[in-house]
Amino acid sequence: MTSSFFLDGKEIPFKEGQTVLQAAMGAGQYIPHLCWRPELEPHSSCRLCIVIISGKPFSSCTQPAMEGQKVECNTPKLNAMRRAVTQLLFVEGNHYCPSCEESGNCKLQATAYHVGMQDSHFPHQFPIRERDSSHPRVNLDRDRCIRCETCVRASRELDGKNVFAIHGRGIKSRLAVNSPTSLLKDSGISPDDMAVKLCPTGALTVKRVGFEWPIGQRIYDKESLATIELREYANQEAVHG
């Protein structure tokens, strides 16, 4: 017996143990997210995937799907809040899209377009953050880090390395590297690590390939974020069930 719930009135089937976000993505309904990855433990920190169930907000990446549940997702109020949360991420760091080699391949940028962000709205914080270019192949630019901990989880769960962690607290928290010198060059990082590949921004990049593809021919130049994410999720499901 298959169960189903209702996402903005549309019936979504789900399997036992699936979250609202997984079931929605599986049914071709994109819900914005930045810290969630199908292959990683959900983290529930970016807060873009918030939905309303029985009048209360829940992160759909961690909320188990339940039979008959009515889930509000694509509402003007929630979309405005998602836009505001994205704006917060932009003003927290130093994101100079026009000069960033990830422009066009950046999920943060693509999300900003998806949620209809036209300006940063909030006062820029202009933080001073350390850059780590010590490694010959991998660059860590903390200015572009959105604290989603994708690399932390990917390094631990997929690469089996524990290269990254978060240090500090609150607005002062930052991405830290596990090495005797705290520098990437003395860590176990490799450019092939999923931690590097899955970074949704330009915080972790592989050196010397930044402009392999000209702007205009990059990932999110050709197709929308939602289309790509839904296809990737379907492929993932097809492989891993």
Partner: protein
Amino acid sequence: MYSATATPVPDFLDLIPPERRSDPHALLQILIQIQHAYHHVPQEAAKRLAAEMGIPLVRVQGLLSFYSFLSPQPQGEYVIHFSDNITDQMFGNRELVALMCQRLDVNLGETRKDGRVSVHFTSCTGMCDQGPAALVNYLPVTNLDRERIERIADLVNAQIPLKDWPAEFFVVKSQIRRSDVVFRKPIEPGAGIRASLERGGAFLPEWAEDLAPSDARRHHLERGGAETLKEIYHSDLRGRGGAGFKTGIKWESVRDAKAGDHYVLCNADEGEPGTFKDRVLLTDYADMVFEGMTICGHVVGSKIGILYLRQEYWYMKEHLENVLNSRREAALLGKGILGTDLDFDIELQFGAGAYICGMETAMIKSIEGRRGIPRRRWPLPVHQGYLRCPTVVNNVETFAAATVISAKGGAWFAHNGTGQSTGTKLFCVSGDCERPGIYEYPWGVSVHEVLRDCGALDAQGVQVGGPSGTMINTQEFDRSACFEDLVGTGTLMIFGPQRDMFEVVKNFALFFQHESCGLCTPCRLGTTLLANYVRKFEQGCGSPVDLEELRNISGLMKTMAHCGLGQTANHHITESIEKFPAIWANRMKTTEFVPAFDLDRALEEARGLTGRNDSEAHLAPVEA
């Protein structure tokens, strides 16, 4: 307690048993020991612990940078932390800190060049009814005034060991001003457990059917706490930590949850500024708290309880260990409770300075030796809590109430209070009143009645439930403290007519910015933006647009933040805008928006160049 010692760190670590040294769950507790002995955690200690525990060094460093009382950099032999709650501030802590720094010739937040002393601010230390207060080497010093500061500075400069300081500096009073039915006649140690055992009520949940007949958990369930659970249900007891979840449901969920060991955790991370009831309960009624945990263990089939105490209450360690020992001697704790085959024991664990650890799931992480970051909502701690096992987490006061309910019955307890808030509640009263301290009232007492009893009839405002609670003005003093109306931790901070409520708002805004864990976007950024806007108003540069922005950010945090901290860290903003509008209006350049230039006048030049003067060339309509 570990005294400052010349023992090199590696030798010091040798004193810790190897099985503990290699257990990552003990990481935070060991770091606290090192911090106390060396006034910092040296890099070599961090490296050795990481190696022995088989964890990345970056994880050890992660704790050092998360908990306020841990420090990778050397602190002075005397580390002084001034409590910086609004009540401390109202009674002059800023002047006292300045005096202390001047007398010691040290900058705030720094260590003196000779390594003798460091002076810091810290969040509320729970001494609000006897502030201004500070911690000297993690021991509370209360009732600070200029004279006491000067004496402390002299003692530090003369390098007098703390044990030779005047004992009166360290006196912490309980100041119970009013007792009601629960605390007027405390329950004798053991009475609650005896009642629970006599009541009986065997109940073996499915998960326990496979347990060996000798398993202590099986004994608990077979000896039955089922009848006591019914009494908890009858009492309609709700959690005293602020959220008000029904205790009976929580206990039953844990009892019936599958999986192996069950745990009973007591949350004594009393971090909500203005709150100090747990401190008083653990000082004067520790037996009732420990007994409540034991009864809970009996009901849910657990043999291990942990009391998580905030670092600010480190001074209570010896006292609490003594109480635990006397309970063990009286067969109220340990193996074979009261001659039965029931086992239950309680250990103490300490926090290290993080308000967020008062949050149930953050506390669990902290007890597991991790950074106190709130977990995701599912699975709930009753199913997967401490070490992913079913776990009861209750507040100190809730466990004390459970003891009373077991001894006297649920109906007796429920006789007091209101429909949805049964029993009595301890209220922490501080600020501008004649008699600050602890007051026990049945739920439903009006703010006005408390103000009358504590001598604060000229109050202009009260913060109920701490900074995350509700700010009320004189119009609302007839509101009552209960889950139907003003909920929270039972904290009343009173502000007299002479106070500037904006200072209250600013203190709270900076507190939340400091205590946000940083996990989720809305709270990490929201608390910072709110604090920045408050500073803007402080400089007299606010505008109505900024007020609108403060409301918007608050709304965003309320809906989008991950946990209760972020969802409530904006209450002081929205409520002060509504209830004390003048404090904001007084700090605006103007109450009307006036742009820096006149756009229509700027178009005049363009009109001249193009020779146009029709209505389309004007912003404002013009007469034809």
